[in-house]
Symmetry: C2
Subunit: 266 residues, 2 copies
């Protein structure tokens, strides 16, 4: 059992929770809690840590999955050092990052109705995670983010994906403009959610391959990015609300596409 806060593996794991730079350097990220451990693809788990006080319960519940994995029991104090949460849940694991390639995904673009969500400068980790979860539920093929969007491997983001981070392909690009042009070449229509949009979102058809563009929580999309889209669309709002939460706007658009596609099928 590891009891020293100065153990080098413990320090490396704590750095993964705290710093994007370390996550990129080590090619790993931290996943906390029984649910997220349970959903983690076993071939991507590099190491598991179990807190002493939770060890009996974790081995009982996850014995089969744990048996093939490098697993260390650590003191509760050591566990708390690695954990990002106020009330650690007794198990965490280091998971290998996955790299996806847009061209690989676009290979299917002629065959099927694709659906993407593109995010610019999203800052709230919880919003980003919720968007991944929603994107999977709405049948999206991928999430595309510019490099100023918060890190998908931020522990708060990971938690709010509820496991979708393992399953939804995603890409970071320096700027969204060039990828928008690439998507349009492949026949994907790009709709930018914009307060100045002319058409209501539900007056457009999303039967063909579609990508939705969502901007920063406070300032919206950059002008030069919005200018690359096929059309600006708006979500009609009542009351004195100035804008919707970014995850809410994403949900309304993604599920409108999902709704329209189901209607045609039936």
């Amino acid at each position: 059992m590891i009891t020293s806060l100065h153990n080098k593996d413990i320090k490396a794991a704590a750095a993964l929770s705290a710093k994007k730079k370390e996550r990129d350097r080590q090619g790993l990220f931290v996943v906390e809690g029984p649910k997220m451990f349970g959903e983690a693809p076993v071939e991507r788990i590099s190491r598991v840590y179990v807190a002493q006080s939770a060890a009996a319960q974790m081995y009982e519940q996850y014995g089969a999955k744990l048996s093939g994995l490098p697993c260390e029991t650590v003191s509760d104090e050591v566990f708390a050092k690695m954990s990002d949460t106020k009330t650690p849940q007794g198990i965490l694991c280091l998971v290998r990052q996955q790299h996806y390639y847009i061209e690989e995904i676009l290979r299917d673009s002629v065959k099927k109705q694709m659906l993407f969500i593109m995010l610019e400068d999203i800052q709230d980790p919880g919003n980003l995670g919720t968007i991944f979860r929603t994107a999977e539920a709405a049948g999206a093929d991928g999430v595309i983010m510019n490099s100023s969007t918060v890190d998908i491997y931020n522990p708060k983001t990971i938690r709010s994906t509820m496991g979708s981070v393992y399953r939804v392909p995603f890409f970071y690009v320096e700027s969204l403009s060039s990828i928008i042009i690439r998507l349009r070449e492949e026949g994907v229509s790009v709709y930018a959610a914009h307060l100045g949009g002319k058409d209501a979102y539900d007056d457009c058809s999303y039967q063909k391959s579609t990508a939705f563009l969502i901007g920063n929580e406070a300032s919206g999309l950059r002008e030069e990015t919005a200018a690359c889209a096929d059309a600006l669309i708006r979500i009609p709002m009542e009351g004195k609300v100035e804008s919707l939460n970014a995850a809410v706007a994403s949900s309304v658009l993604l599920f409108e596409a999902s709704r329209q596609r189901r209607k045609i099928k039936t």
Copy 2:
């Protein structure tokens, strides 16, 4: 200028941030930051506190609104004690709670298409605030919560309403069952979001007065509450997602009602 952490007004304000019991006892709640102060109805503001380091800027920006209000400048240390946030934004105010009455709102129920969102056991303050913001944008007439739902006056909830807390009527009830029966008497159809729902949410018509029922983030609706609804509906999901975030599910349903009602008008 107040510089003492032991000042009784400061202690009272700090208690409002920290404890629901104190908020209920004093009939007040705390609102932080320039945006939320700017949107607060002036007749409901009981007192304003400005941090010393932000005072010049706040008086310049909000001089007109501040001039008629009891306002105290406090040291940054004192301000931090009252604040709920890690990076205090220099201004906070105490606002009087507002009480709404369901019967008053239901008086309009024969005249118009009403729209309600009903929440059971929602625990995440950010989710609750986001639901208020979305409810206003979708044109809802009120938010109805059972008494085990998180407090709307929690500082985190207040922040994520982005001002909707001042404008959307809401009610807490001991249990939702009796209010569901009351709503149905008034001709409001009550749809429960439920993983076991038969109909897809977009196969129902929300042209008439409608209420949506949303349950706890992890465990969903209580059986006895779901049993009171007119119908159980589900949001079709792809992938391996088990459920949607509560604010996302609320958004999809509220904006589907809004969409259907706009379509008929035009």
